[in-house]
C-alpha cells in the first residue's frame, strides 16, 4: 500500500493547513520526517510505482474502481458464457472425420455443414414443429399460470398454502415418473377424436406434447408470476377497480403490464424450456417431422448407429438457437421495462 493512506480531499484543504491531518482528524503521513517535507498527496506521487498510483486514484475516486470491476466482471462473464459457443462453432466448421485437436480454430474449414444440415434431414420442419409447440405451450402456461398467480399472490382464501405446496409437488418428480400412465393415456383411443385422428389417439399430435410439457413447467411459471404479482401495491389495482374495470380486467390491464419483467421472464423461460424439451417429445411422437417431432429429434437424427456427425449436430444446434435468440432480444425489452417511477403516489 501507499505510504500515504489518506482520504481524498478536493483541493488539499485540511484541518490545520499543515497537511499532516486527514479530514477525519487522523494523522496523514507516515513518512520518516513526519510529512514536513512532503505534505501533500500530489507531491508524494513521484515516489510511488504505477500500482500505488492506481490505488491512490482509486481511493480518491471510488467510481473508477467500480467501473473497472464492472468491466472486468463483464468481460469475464462474456468470455465464459461465449467461449463454449465459439468452440461449438469450431466443431461445426470442422469437416466430418477430422474432428481432432480443436482449440481456437476448426480443423479444416467447412461452412457447407450449415447447408448439409438441411440436406441430410428436413431440419427446418423440426424447427417449425418445435416453434409451434413452444409457442402454444408458452401461451397456455402464461394464461393459466397468470390466473393462478393472481389468486396465490393477491387473494386470501382457505387452503392457499396446501394448494401451493400441491403445485410445487409436481416439480419434485422426474418427468419419467409421469411417463408410463401418460403413455397409456395418450395411446388410448378416444371416440371423440376419431374423426380427427385416424386412430383416435393423441399420439403424434402436438397435444400429446403441449399438454404434459405445459403441466411440467406450470409450477415454475405459477411461482414466478405469484412473486411478481404480489409485489404490485394494492393501491394501483384499487384505483383501476374504482374506475370500473372488472376483476379479470384488473389482472390483464393493470397487474400484468406492471409485472412485465416477471411475465416476460416467465414467458422466455417457458419457451426456451419447451423448445429444447426432449423427454416427452421423444416418447410421444414417432420421430417423423410430419408427425410434430421437435427439434431434438432432428439434432439426434445426425447420430448414426455407431457414428455421430458432431459437426452437423453442432451446426444444427447453432441454427436452432437462432429463433430463441431472436425471441430473447425481443423479450428482453420487456424484462427491463421496470416499474415506471412515480406510478405509486402513496
Amino acid at each position: 500500500m501507499s505510504p500515504n493512506d489518506h482520504e481524498p480531499t478536493d483541493d488539499g484543504a485540511d484541518r490545520d493547513g499543515s497537511g499532516r491531518y486527514r479530514p477525519d482528524g487522523g494523522p496523514r503521513s507516515r513518512l520518516a520526517d513526519g510529512g514536513t517535507a512532503l505534505g501533500r498527496a500530489e507531491d508524494a506521487e513521484i515516489e510511488r510505482g504505477p500500482f500505488s498510483r492506481w490505488v491512490d486514484r482509486s481511493i480518491q475516486n471510488p467510481q473508477r474502481v467500480y467501473r473497472a470491476m464492472f468491466y472486468v466482471a463483464a468481460i469475464f462473464f462474456l468470455f465464459t458464457t461465449l467461449f463454449p459457443f465459439y468452440w461449438l462453432l469450431m466443431v461445426a466448421l470442422t469437416p466430418e472425420g477430422q474432428l481432432q485437436d480443436i482449440v481456437f480454430t476448426p480443423n479444416g474449414f467447412n461452412p457447407g455443414a450449415f447447408v448439409e444440415v438441411f440436406q441430410t434431414l428436413p431440419f427446418h420442419w423440426y424447427m417449425f414443429n418445435s416453434f409451434v409447440i413452444a409457442t402454444a405451450s408458452t401461451v397456455l402456461v402464461l394464461v393459466v399460470a397468470s390466473l393462478a398467480g393472481y389468486a396465490f399472490g393477491r387473494l386470501e382464501f382457505p387452503g392457499k398454502t396446501p394448494m401451493m405446496l400441491l403445485v410445487l409437488l409436481v416439480s419434485f418428480f422426474p418427468p419419467a415418473a409421469f411417463f408410463i400412465p401418460l403413455n397409456d393415456l395418450f395411446n388410448t383411443p378416444v371416440s371423440v377424436l376419431e374423426p380427427v385422428m385416424s386412430d383416435g389417439t393423441l399420439y403424434n399430435t402436438p397435444g400429446a406434447m403441449v399438454m404434459p410439457i405445459s403441466a411440467i413447467f406450470m409450477p415454475l411459471a405459477i411461482f414466478i408470476l405469484t412473486t411478481f404479482y404480489a409485489q404490485i401495491p394494492d393501491g394501483l389495482e384499487d384505483a383501476a377497480r374504482v374506475e370500473g374495470t372488472t376483476r379479470l380486467g384488473a389482472l390483464f390491464r393493470v397487474i400484468i403490464p406492471l409485472s412485465a419483467p416477471g411475465v416476460a421472464t416467465a414467458g422466455v423461460l417457458t419457451f426456451i424450456a419447451v423448445y429444447n424439451e426432449f423427454f416427452f417429445s421423444f416418447l410421444m411422437t414417432d420421430g417423423q417431422p410430419e408427425n410434430w417431432a421437435p427439434i431434438l429429434e432432428g439434432i439426434l437424427g445426425y447420430q448414426g448407429q455407431y457414428e455421430i456427425l458432431f459437426n452437423l449436430m453442432a451446426a444444427s444446434s447453432i441454427i436452432g438457437v437462432l429463433p430463441v435468440a431472436i425471441l430473447v432480444i425481443v423479450a428482453q425489452e420487456k424484462i427491463v421495462s421496470g416499474l415506471t417511477a412515480g406510478a405509486l403516489k402513496e
Partner: protein, 484 residues
Amino acid sequence: MVPDRCERTTSLGVSRRSFVAAASAVGAGGIAGCLGRGAEEGAVVAYGDTDFQDIMDPEGELHQALWDAGLDEDITVSVRTGPDETEQRRSAAQSALQAERSQPDLFMMDSGWTIPFILREQTVNLEDRLSNETLGLIENEYLEAAVETARHPETGELHALPLFPDFGTMQYREDLAEDAGYDTEDWGTEPMSWQEFSEVAADVRADSGVDFGFTTQAAAYEGLACCTFNEVISTWGGAYFGGLDELFEAGGREVTVDEEPVLDAIRMMRTFVRGQDDEHALEGYEQIAPTAIVQYTEEDARGPFAGGNVVMHRNWPYSIAIAHDDGMGDQVGMMPMPYGVEEDEAAYDGLGGTAAALGGWHLTLNPASENQEEATQVLEAFATEEVMLTVFEVQGWIPPIVELLEDVDPEEIGPVAEYAETIEIAGENAVPRPVTDIWPEQSAHIYQEVNAAYRGVKSPEEAMADLADRLEASEADVGEQDVQ
C-alpha cells in the same frame, strides 16, 4: 360497432382481440393436431434405422427384389426411423408395444434385445405364420447362433426373422504388416494367438511409426459386456454362465466370471494398456493400446484406424466398408479374432479358439398390427436367397445364410465380400450374449466392473468377485418371480 375496450391494445402493440384469436388458433391447432396420418392402403410400416430406410426406397433395387421373390405387387414397405442408436430404438419399440399401438407393423430389433420382447409377449409366434418351406430354410440353413436369439427360450418357437447377423472382427493394416516383413497370406483364415498378436502389433507399430498398436471398445457401455469382453473371455475359454448351454434362460444359472480364464483375459487387456508395469500383467504380452480405450465406443476406436494411426482394430464389418470408401481398401485386411487357449484346452465346450461377438438385427411382427397378413408376406419375401444377396449388395449386411458369400463377386457386390472366408469363420464361432429378460441389468454390472478392472481401479480378482456376487443375486432374484 365493437366496443372500444376490445380494441385497446396490449403492451405488445397487437390488438388484443386478434392476439387472443391467433393464440387460440395456435393453441387449438396445437392441441387437436391435424388430420390423421394413417398409412396408405397396402403399405406395411416398418420401424428401422436410416440405413434400412434408405435401402427400402420404393424405387430401389430391394423393393424390386422383394416383388420378384413373390411379394404381392400391391404391397410396399415404408420405413419410419428415429434416432439410430440401438438403446433408443429399443426404448421406442418398448413404449410403442407397451401401449399396444397398431403401427408400425414390423419392428427391426437388435438380436441382442429381441428375447426380452419375446418373453413379454410383445411379438408374434411365426411358426404359425410362415410357410413350412421358409421355416425349413431358417431351421437348416440360417446361422444357428442368430436363429437362437430369435426363438422363445422356453418353447423354442420362432418369434423373429433374422434380417442380418453381424460379427466382431479384427481389422488390420495389411500394408504396414507386409512392410514390417510379415507374410499376411494366411492371416485371413488362420487365427493367431493373442501373444503373437501383441508381438506383431508392437513390432509393426515400432517399424511403421504409427501411434497405436491396437484399438478396441472398452468404455463402460453395453458393447463392452455383450461384445468386446464377451469375445475376449470366449477366446480364453471362459464364460459368464458356465458355457454356451444356458445362455437364454435366466434364473439360478451358475455364475463363472471369477474363474481363471476370465481373470487371464482381464490381465491380458491390462497388459495391452499398461504393459508389464501393470501389477497384474501377463508375461509375454506387449503394451499396444492407448489408455483412452476405456472411454472408446465403436466410433471413437475407429477414428484412429480411419486416420491411419493404428495397426490392429477390433470392430464390426461396417468399419472396413468405410475404410474402402475412404480409399484405404488396398491397405486393410481382416483376420479372425486371436485366441487365448486352443479349443480343446478350453474349460467349456464350444469355447476357446477364435470367437466373434454376435450382433445383427431381426424383424418382428407387431401383435397389435392390423396388417398382419401383408406384413407376413414381407417376411416371407425377405427369407429368400435373392433378397438376402440384394441386401448385401446394396448395404453390405451379411446374409443370414452366410455361405452365400462364397459365390459373390466382390467387384460386383461390394468390398466386404473380399473377406468372405474370414466372415464365415467368424460366423461359425459366433458367441451370442446371454440375453434374457434381465440381461440389461446384468450387462450393466458386467461393464461397470470390467471397466473398473481395466482402468486399474480394482484388481481383476476383486472386480470379478464383486461381479459374481451381483450376478448371483440377480439370478436368484429372477428365479423367485412368480410367473404363470
